[in-house]
Structure formats: structure tokens, C-alpha cells
């Protein structure tokens, strides 16, 4: 019966092919939307492991999370170094990592931090950062930089390479810090998180960018070289001009090497995580500087709440497309019934019973749906292959070729069953038709 159905469909391969394509697209869409959503959530959740609190200038918690952990979006005005020291000295705090932001390297965010970052940052269920090559910040160099796996792969960076950063966060910038180059000291192993897309420099190096500034030019386009390659622009810089050399406290200098005037955020780890809410309140209530302490998990939950509506809409649309595909199949099977009456009568005359012909239609639908599912999975894999570099470069999302999760299998099974149920409409019609027609071959 299966072979017979396949032959029969092959005889109508053009229409059958279109039907399969419609189902395939809907399958790819449904699973694609789910995968995108899952990988976004995984990637985000994996990026914020191990940080108990993120402290930044007073602001929206989602925005703080996005800008600090994912390097997406702008940062606030900055917070005073004194606040960092105050946080660091709190008894609840086990470790504190300062974060400076606002520069980019060829579109990838540049983070100014200290060696403690590499020590305390965790990703993907608590794995520490590992080096693929080289070392973390070296003793000697304030100009050392550590690059994420993807940055290294994209530009072919290896330890020893010299890189130049730019101000702001756009991929094309006219505002290059080419007077303050960095030497790559290490390349991180891939983590599948936003860290892969980041460039880490020392606090001192980050500040060094902004000290050697002359007066800002009136019109940046005046002197800016338009091409990304040939940048000759020593003094187009307009930010971070609030830096003073900060060496009044020798003891603190020894601990942190270099103390910037202002930083953008602080990652905190607590010695006892049960104190997290108390500390959060203490930070939020601090009067000397308005700060926000963000619980990454809570901020993520808020983010999902915001994106939840869009996700639901996307999912509804994907299922609507699937529904359309199913209708297309029913239309195709039903439309051909009239012209196939003769075929059914012949089958009846050689001994096929009406239930058998009923089964034939259901089998055809099963074959179409199964082919649609197979093609859909193939299209999805293809789309993943094509979109993966773009998605990971732009958003740090890795789709990957994961094995099917339980939910995906359930989705596939649901689509298959929907195909069978949909086929009952033409199958019941054909059952009645063959009973009424009998053997009289009508044209």
C-alpha cells in the first residue's frame, strides 16, 4: 500500500511536490522559531552564570543586564571608583570585578576589566573561562588584550597580534583609537555565550585610550577616513574625557594595578548567596550615588516577559503557516479525487475494498506529511548552516545541530498526526464515493 501510494503521488509529483514544500516550510518555521527562542534563552542564561549581582548606575535592570553581560545597547553615565571600593569592602562580597565599556573593536564590544574577571566569570552551568592560546592579562602589559573565540576566528587573531579599538559601538567607526594599540596576549576557548564576541583589555589600557586626547575636532567627518581600512584619525575622540591620573593611594594601586576614575558596572560574587537580597537593598538605598543592583536571573525573567508576547505571536504565525500547509494538502487530495474516480473503480474491480481505498488516501497524506517533515528538517539544517555565522556574529546566538529535544519530537509527532487527521476529510469522501460508484467507471 505504501509503495502504491508513493507511485500514485509520483504520478502527481508537481502538485505533490508543492504540497510537500508548503508543509516543509511550515515545519522549518515552527521548529526554527522554537530553536531560535531556546538558543537565545540558553545563550543568555549561560552568559550570566556565577554573577550574583550586577551593579551599575541607576537604570532599568534589563538594560543593565543587556549592556553589561551581552554588550548590547548603551551604557549609563558611569559610576565612581569609590562606589566600587565601597562594594568591594562590603562583608557579604566575596569578589568584585569592575567593568568598563563603550568602545568596540571592529564592531565587537571592548570590555575594560581586571584579571579577576577571568577568575570569576562562569558560563554554561558553571564552567570557568579557558584559554585556547596565550595567557590572560600579562604582568608587563597594560596594553594586553584577551579576545573571545569568535573575534579571534573572524579576524584570524593569535597572541602577539596588535589591534586597534574604536570609540562607540557601531561596526563602522570613524573614531579610532589608533594611538593606543593593544597586543593580544590570549585567545579564549569558545563558550557559546556573548564572551566569544568580546575583547577584553585592562582597566589601565582602557583608560590609556582616553588620556592621549587632544581637543575634539568640530566635525568628525572632516578628518575621518571613510574607508574602514585606512583610518588616519588621531584626535576624533569625544568621550571619556573625565579621566585624571589616579595614583593617590599606593595600596589600592597595588591591589588593582590601575584605578580608573569611573567605571560602568561591577560584577559581584557573594560569599553567601542568601544575603543577596539584603545587599541588593543596601546598594539600591545608598544615597551617595544612585546605583542599581540587578539579579541576573530576575532581569532575565523580566526580559523574557517582554519578549514573551513577540514569541507567542511568532509561534502563532508559525502554526498558522502549518495549518495553511495542511489545508493545502487537503485541497490537493480532495481536488484529485474527482479525476481519480476511475482509478478507484478499477481498484475496486480487482478486489480493493472501500476501507482499503480509504487507507490509500490516508497513506498518501502520511507520505506527504512525512516527506514534508523530512524536507522541513533539511531546510532547517540548511538555514541553520547559513544563518549561524550571522546570528552568532550579530547576537551571539548559536543554533547548532542539536539532537531533537523531547519538545521538538512532540512537535514533529503533532504535525504528523495533524496530517493524518486532515486526510480524513478526503478519505471519508472517497470512501462514500467508492461505495456509491461501485464498479461503474465514470469519466
Amino acid at each position: 500500500m505504501l509503495g502504491f501510494s508513493i507511485r500514485s503521488l509520483w504520478n502527481r509529483r508537481f502538485v505533490a511536490g508543492l504540497t510537500v514544500l508548503a508543509i516543509a516550510l511550515s515545519v522549518a518555521l515552527i521548529l526554527g522559531v522554537e530553536r531560535l527562542r531556546d538558543s537565545a534563552r540558553d545563550s543568555f542564561a549561560n552568559s550570566a552564570v556565577g554573577i550574583d549581582l550586577i551593579v551599575a548606575p541607576r537604570g532599568n535592570s534589563v538594560q543593565i543586564l543587556m549592556s553589561t553581560v551581552f554588550g548590547v545597547g548603551g551604557t549609563g553615565t558611569g559610576m565612581a571608583w569609590e562606589s566600587f571600593e565601597w562594594l568591594e569592602d562590603r562583608p557579604e562580597v566575596a569578589w568584585a570585578v569592575p567593568i568598563q565599556m563603550g568602545d568596540n573593536h571592529r564592531g565587537y564590544p571592548v570590555i575594560g576589566t581586571d584579571a579577576a574577571y577571568f577568575e570569576h566569570f562562569r558560563h554554561s552551568n558553571g564552567k570557568p573561562l579557558a584559554l585556547a592560546a596565550g595567557a590572560f592579562f600579562t604582568e608587563a602589559g597594560a596594553d594586553s588584550a584577551v579576545v573571545g573565540a569568535e573575534v579571534a576566528a573572524r579576524f584570524g587573531y593569535a597572541p602577539g597580534a596588535v589591534i586597534i579599538n574604536a570609540h562607540g559601538s557601531g561596526e563602522v567607526s570613524f573614531d579610532l583609537h589608533d594611538d593606543a594599540p593593544f597586543t593580544i596576549s590570549g585567545v579564549l576557548a569558545p563558550t557559546g555565550t556573548a564572551v566569544d564576541r568580546m575583547v577584553f583589555v585592562t582597566l589601565e589600557g582602557f583608560d590609556a585610550l582616553h588620556t592621549k586626547e587632544a581637543s575634539p575636532s568640530a566635525d568628525p567627518l572632516d578628518s575621518a577616513a571613510m574607508s574602514a581600512g585606512g583610518h588616519e584619525e588621531p584626535d576624533g575622540h569625544q568621550g571619556h574625557d573625565n579621566h585624571e591620573d589616579h595614583s593617590d593611594n599606593e595600596g589600592e594601586e597595588a591591589r588593582h594595578g590601575h584605578e580608573p576614575d569611573r567605571i560602568n558596572a561591577v560584577y559581584l560574587g557573594l560569599s553567601d548567596r542568601t544575603n543577596v537580597l539584603g545587599l541588593q537593598r543596601a546598594i539600591n538605598d545608598r544615597t551617595s550615588e544612585p546605583l542599581s543592583a540587578v539579579l541576573p536571573a530576575v532581569a532575565l525573567a523580566e526580559l523574557w516577559e517582554i519578549t514573551g508576547t513577540a514569541e507567542t505571536v511568532m509561534r502563532l504565525m508559525a502554526w498558522a503557516v502549518a495549518f495553511t500547509g495542511m489545508i493545502g494538502m487537503v485541497v490537493m487530495l480532495s481536488a484529485t479525487l474527482e479525476t481519480r474516480r476511475r482509478e478507484f473503480a478499477i481498484l475496486r474491480s480487482v478486489g480493493a475494498s472501500p476501507p482499503h481505498i480509504f487507507g490509500l488516501i490516508v497513506t498518501e497524506a502520511a507520505v506527504l506529511t512525512a516527506a514534508g517533515l523530512a524536507l522541513g528538517l533539511f531546510l532547517l539544517a540548511l538555514a541553520t548552516l547559513v544563518a549561524d555565522p550571522f546570528l552568532s556574529a550579530r547576537f551571539g546566538l548559536r543554533l547548532g545541530f542539536n539532537f531533537f529535544g523531547v519538545r521538538e519530537l512532540a512537535t514533529i509527532a503533532a504535525i504528523f498526526c495533524a496530517g493524518l487527521v486532515a486526510s480524513l476529510i478526503p478519505a471519508i469522501r472517497v470512501y462514500r464515493m467508492t461505495l456509491a460508484d461501485g464498479l461503474s467507471v465514470r469519466i
Binding site: 500514485s8 478499477i346 481498484l347 475496486r348 474491480s349 461503474s440
Partner: protein, 228 residues
């Protein structure tokens, strides 16, 4: 053995005003061929449907291979038809997208009895039948059915009716789409193959020129006296 036995068969289509069939008696021995002629629209096709068990007939009216068709229900009638009856229609007998050979083998997929009786290798038997009916060589038999001429299609249909030596073949005006020459040759071949296989043949046509190929001739109007 009697291939077909009809006694007092009355049949009326569900929406009809009066009986279409009112047949007193008709019987056909194994291997016997009968030419049943009559004008179009007089109920010949209805009779064939009744014999084939496509329409519900009363008990004790129609027996095929000594089985009362009226006692069989639904699926059992379909199975019985597949096992014991071969059919040839006027035109469009074949599944267009199957090859000639596959069309011939169709009854063997629906009936174990026909497959058993088609020998150890049904495909060989099918090829032999096609060969005897003048369709030889893989070039012809592997062609899909809609590429064959009408005459060739009818011969494929005959081979399909014959395979697995059913007890009875019902032929409903199978020659009406053929020209004079092929008509005679086709009927001659069909009658001979039926005789060789021991299969009874009930051949329905309005064309009396074919009469000479058959053992017996019956005028349907004489037979169907009971109908109003």
C-alpha cells in the same frame, strides 16, 4: 462445477420506480463462454454489478462458483470478487501510472487465491499471458499504461482478468472502442484464453457480429422478462 447460477433475480436501484432486473434463470458452466447481447441502457451493466457483488442482491438469487453472493456482506464480497471474478470494462481499464505488467499483477496483490493460482512466479505468468495476447517484450510491458494504444490497453485488461484463473470473467462491452479488425482478434483471443484456463466468460455487447466466437448466445431482452 457451475461458474454462474442465477435464479429469479429481481433488482431495483434504490431511487428507481421499478425493477431494472427481473431474470428468471441463467447459468454458465466452468470454461463456458456466453454472449449476452442487447441494446444500450437495458440493464446489462446492472446485471454485471449484481453478479460482481457491487450492488446488494437478495439471497439465493446469484451464485458464483457455488457461493451465494446475497449472503456475503461488504468486505467479504470484495474479497470474493477478487478471488473468483475477473472484469474487463469498455475503456479505461488500467491504472494509468502503473506499467502494463503491474496492471496485470494487480489482482494478485488483492487476492491470495489468485496469486497462488498464478503459479510460483506471478510475474512470469503475467508476461506469458501478455505474450499470448500479442504484447511481448519488456519494452511494451514496462511502459506505463497511458502510453499504450486503446487496443493494447484492452489486451492488458484481458490479461489482468485472466491472471490467477478466476472462475468467471465479466466483460462489459470491451470491444466498443476497437476497430473491426482488432475487435474480432481480441474476442477470439479472449475466448480462447478463457477456455484454456477453464474460466467461464460472460461477454456483454450490443454488437452481434461477435456472436460466432462464443459457445452460446442469449438476448438480454428475452432473459430480462421480469423487468417492467
Amino acid at each position: 462445477m457451475t461458474a454462474l447460477q442465477i435464479e429469479n433475480l429481481a433488482y431495483r436501484w434504490p431511487s428507481a420506480q421499478h425493477d431494472t432486473l427481473g431474470i428468471g434463470s441463467l447459468s454458465l458452466d466452468a470454461g463456458e463462454s456466453l454472449f449476452l447481447h442487447g441494446p444500450s441502457g437495458c440493464g446489462k451493466s446492472t446485471l454485471l454489478s449484481a453478479i460482481a457483488g457491487v450492488v446488494a442482491v437478495p439471497r439465493d438469487a446469484v451464485r458464483v462458483a457455488e457461493q451465494d453472493i446475497g449472503t456475503l456482506r461488504g468486505g467479504a464480497r470484495d474479497r470474493f470478487r477478487a478471488d473468483h471474478i475477473g472484469m474487463i470494462f469498455q475503456v479505461f481499464n488500467l491504472i494509468p501510472w502503473l506499467s502494463a505488467l503491474e496492471n496485470v499483477l494487480l489482482p494478485c496483490t488483492y487476492s491470495l487465491r489468485r496469486r497462488d493460482r498464478a503459479g510460483d512466479k506471478p510475474a512470469e505468468t503475467a508476461n506469458r499471458l501478455l505474450d499470448e495476447l500479442g504484447l511481448s517484450g519488456p519494452a511494451l510491458t514496462s511502459k506505463s499504461a497511458n502510453e499504450l494504444s486503446v487496443g493494447q490497453q484492452q489486451r492488458v485488461a484481458a490479461a489482468r482478468a485472466l491472471i490467477g484463473r478466476p472462475d468467471l470473467i465479466l466483460a462489459d462491452e470491451p470491444t466498443s472502442a476497437l476497430d473491426e479488425m482488432s475487435k474480432s482478434a481480441f474476442v477470439d483471443l479472449l475466448a480462447r484464453e478463457c477456455a484454456a484456463a477453464g474460466t467461464a466468460l460472460l461477454f456483454v455487447s450490443h454488437d452481434r457480429s461477435l456472436e460466432r466466437h462464443f459457445d452460446r448466445t442469449v438476448d438480454f431482452r428475452d432473459l430480462n422478462r421480469g423487468a417492467l
